[in-house]
């Protein structure tokens, strides 16, 4: 790899923060040529985006500091180049797209203007730029390119915005495209489409693709080579197959082991009494039907997963059941009483029996309350455990139960990591000894390895305490590991339901089939087989 087109060589970057110097990346080397796809795999905080930001000159210096190393582009060290030389390379030779295209597109300019600017910023004439923009917008699969040019970013869907970002990045036919988590915020079916588009475009233009991701499935699907990063260092490098099957570093092994969707499937115990019986629940917002006569039954001790993409109505279902939103019609019988029509006083009693764990613990825990106050608040509300000493003892017990330490009680949420925070949220839910916990995407904001830990914790609680779960998720792998029954939702309706094994092994509804097909398997061989199968089906 002596004369790669772009080579990062022994790069070390520090961030100077109040808590001291953080070695964001240490001695990182990777390289890429035209036509290749390199995946940089790592969890949050692994430093996987830092070297790419350094390539694009996007680091704020200070607080960042490039300690040592070289970034060679066509053999020339970019770190020694002038600002103007580096600016001229950006977009023209090396382009970049990002996660969350909504915030990465300027909200006050039309997308046409922003795409055209890619060329005008590099001194190309505006009319040529416009023609190329029209051509590319059509190429990335947006309807009516002329109208699209005149629209603003907020007028597109998430997937469309990412396509527009890709069109913008390709304006000057760059040699290398860096994609930083390009599909993370997207639904699985749209993720599959965007990845397919990237692959096609790469084949057409012959560019090199650097894909930064946390998702083993994405790596398996698209990468030729992969480097695995942990705590700022590359711990392993090789082909996806090699890494998946013969990982040598313990971190890589842990990561692969944590990938969801491989455990034994659970089976439902139909003899258990019915806890929650939802009948023809309906909810509309204006003309939009979020829930269309949704019915489901949850048994005691069961874990029922509700699966669907954004806009499927799965979160509305949770909100309506918890009376955060008022249902239009229908009933939800909780131990025989209708939740939907309950008076405020009756509801207060039920509020103790049903608890919720939210998606993002950073937001669901009041930042100004200590862990003790957070957990004890439910007792204040429901006038339980008046004795101070008993409370303290119980908080300590709960913290131990979720894998934290009793002395954590006096700290504040921001002093914990994401996974720990979710454990606090679970301890808070457990404090009221509920019969049902509703989890709304409770692990989707967490890193894969931490996801696995939290799922294991929830499963343990279910077994030991007999708590039932309504588990709302978009990640099929997680669902397969945790749920015993699955309900698939699309556009406010339940399209398929059944035991987990049946849904995964023998899906009947086309949407469920599409969902399962779009779900990326971490095993590159499985993905290759699927691609081959899809190719045969297409041919």
């Amino acid at each position: 790899m002596a004369d790669a087109l772009l080579e990062v060589r022994k790069l070390s970057i520090d961030f100077h923060t109040a808590r001291g110097t953080v070695h964001a990346v240490r001695n990182v080397s990777w390289s890429i040529n035209r036509g290749e796809t390199l995946a940089v795999l790592g969890e949050s905080g692994s430093g996987k985006s830092v070297s790419a930001s350094a390539v694009m000159n996007l680091l704020d210096i200070p607080p960042a500091q490039i300690v040592s190393g070289e970034i060679l582009f066509e053999g020339k060290d970019l770190l020694k180049a002038s600002q103007e030389e580096r600016r001229a390379l950006n977009g023209k030779r090396i382009a970049m797209i990002f996660q969350d295209p909504l915030s990465h597109l300027n909200p006050v300019y039309t997308v046409g203007w922003q795409i055209v600017e890619m060329m005008t910023a590099h001194g190309r004439p505006a009319d040529a730029a416009r023609a190329r923009a029209l051509e590319l917008i059509a190429r990335v699969g947006l309807p009516e390119p002329k109208q699209a040019m005149r629209k603003y970013p907020h007028q597109f869907s998430g997937g469309q915005r990412q396509r527009l970002m890709i069109a913008m990045a390709l304006m000057l036919k760059p040699d290398i495209l860096i994609a930083d988590e390009p599909t993370t915020a997207l639904d699985v079916t749209i993720q599959a489409d965007v990845l397919a588009l990237l692959k096609e475009l790469q084949a057409e233009t012959g560019m090199g693709l650097v894909l930064i991701t946390h998702d083993l499935g994405v790596v398996a699907e698209i990468a030729d080579r992969v480097v695995v990063m942990s705590q700022g260092e590359i711990v392993e490098a090789g082909t996806p197959r090699n890494i998946y099957h013969n990982a040598t570093h313990p971190y890589t092994r842990k990561l692969i082991a944590a990938a969801p969707g491989k455990g034994a499937v659970k089976h439902v115990d139909a003899a258990a009494p019915v806890l929650l019986d939802v009948q023809k629940l309906r909810k509309t917002y204006g003309g939009f039907t979020a829930l269309n006569d949704v019915s489901l039954i949850l048994h005691k001790g069961q874990s029922l997963a509700v699966v669907g993409e954004s806009g499927s109505g799965k979160s509305t279902l949770a909100k309506t059941l918890l009376r955060l939103e008022a249902a239009d019609s229908g009933a939800a019988l909780w131990k025989g009483c209708n939740l939907i029509a309950m008076s405020a006083r009756e509801l207060l009693g039920v509020r103790r029996e049903i608890q919720m764990v939210f998606q993002d613990p950073t937001q669901s825990l009041n930042p100004r309350m200590s862990v003790y106050d957070l957990i004890a608040e439910g007792w204040d509300i429901h006038r339980l455990i008046p004795d101070k000493v008993a409370r303290r003892r119980r908080v300590a017990e709960l913290l131990e139960q979720v894998g934290l330490l009793p002395e954590h009680a006096q700290r504040y949420p921001h002093q914990f990591s994401g996974g720990q925070r979710q454990r606090i949220a679970i301890a808070r839910a457990l404090a009221l000894e509920p019969d049902l916990i509703i989890c709304d995407e409770a692990v989707s904001a967490l890193d894969v390895s931490i996801q696995a830990q939290v799922i294991a914790l929830l499963d343990d609680l279910r077994k030991r305490l007999g708590i039932s779960f309504l588990f709302i998720a978009h990640d099929l792998g997680v669902v397969r590991d945790f749920a015993d029954t699955v309900v698939v939702m699309k556009s406010g309706e339940i399209v398929e339901r059944g035991p987990t094994s049946l849904i995964f092994d023998n899906p009947r509804h086309p949407y469920t089939q599409r969902l399962l097909a779009a779900n990326l398997d971490p095993d590159p061989d499985v993905q290759a087989q699927r691609r081959a199968a899809a190719g045969r089906a297409g041919a």
Partner: protein
């Protein structure tokens, strides 16, 4: 980055106020401002009792005596006024009314505005729309002119002055609180509290108010400076504080006829206003960052680079 290995806390837990004080010490400008304000508040509280007599005593030989001349005693170090009263004690005594009026107006506006804003914001979009519009309307009134008219009618007294100033400032707190509450009530932890069965009062007081309070504190600090300037304007026009009460604004007004012969009569009280307002501004800027956990790292990060001027 693994889950449990980082169970050790990142920083040693210490009391919130001690941490804030340490941060204040690091930002030298904000620290000096805080000290300045403390001194002025001490003047305001103790001044009238200690120096009330000295401030009123006339020394005819000290009439319009220039500053930095100790011939008439230490009290005349900043000069004497047109009636031969010493400037320095008068400035210190005037701090009392100046700060008193501003504090009264800011506190009443804060309490009323925040209370209505909390309720309106919590009740949701429609109610707050009405409230916001109402605030807009009051804001679009020519407030200084109305203050002038009202004070003419009601008569210029300290309570009336406080009332007028408070009413013109209520919309500021109302708008801010309302807008913040509208945002905070949608946050996950408020939903989490609802799901747990928390009452509306509990949610407002325990979950929303603590989040909004730092912003209100910051605005109140800034507004204190604004109200002080407004009061001095009214007093300068002769419809604010009336003699024998004195505020810095009134002193500037009283010194105006002597501009060409005794500049210090108008200069010192004006300078006091500038210093106080500047300190409030600086402190408010610091608070905006310090009281916001999301931005606090900016100040904490500063410790590694030494103090810089601004945030």
């Amino acid at each position: 980055m693994t889950d449990l290995s980082s169970a050790k806390p990142a920083d040693i837990p210490r009391s919130e106020s001690a941490a804030l004080l340490a941060m204040l010490w690091r930002d030298k400008l904000a620290f000096v401002s805080a000290v300045m304000l403390l001194v002025i508040v001490l003047f305001a509280v103790l001044g009238p009792a200690l120096l009330g007599d000295a401030a009123g005593a006339q020394n005819l030989r000290g009439r319009n005596s220039p500053p930095f001349d100790l011939a008439h005693g230490w009290a005349f170090v900043l000069g004497g006024d047109s009636l031969g009263r010493p400037m320095l004690p008068r400035l210190i005594v005037a701090a009392s009314s100046t700060m008193g009026v501003a504090a009264g107006a800011v506190l009443s506006a804060l309490v009323v505005g925040a209370a209505f804003g909390l309720v309106a914001g919590y009740l949701g979009k429609n109610v707050s729309q009405v409230i916001m519009r109402l605030a807009d309307v009051i804001m679009s009134f020519p407030s200084l002119l109305i203050a002038v008219v009202v004070l003419y009618v009601l008569g210029p007294s300290i309570p009336n002055l406080v009332l007028v100033l408070a009413i013109t400032r209520i919309p500021i707190y109302l708008r801010t609180t309302c807008a913040e509450v509208l945002e905070v009530r949608e946050r996950m932890f408020v939903q989490a509290a609802t799901v747990m069965g928390a009452s509306h009062t509990r949610i407002i007081l325990r979950h929303i108010l603590p989040i909004v309070a730092p912003t209100l504190m910051t605005i109140a600090t800034l507004d204190f400076a604004f109200v002080m300037l407004a009061e001095s304007s009214l007093s300068f026009l002769g419809i604010g504080i009336q003699p024998p009460n004195i505020t810095w604004g009134l002193m500037v007004s009283q010194g105006r006829p002597y501009l060409s012969s005794a500049w210090w009569l108008a200069f010192w009280p004006g300078l006091m206003i500038v210093i106080t307002a500047l300190s409030l501004n600086l402190l408010s800027n610091w608070m905006r960052v310090a009281l916001d956990p999301a931005q606090r790292w900016r100040l904490e990060a500063r410790s590694t680079k030494g103090g810089t001027a601004n945030g």
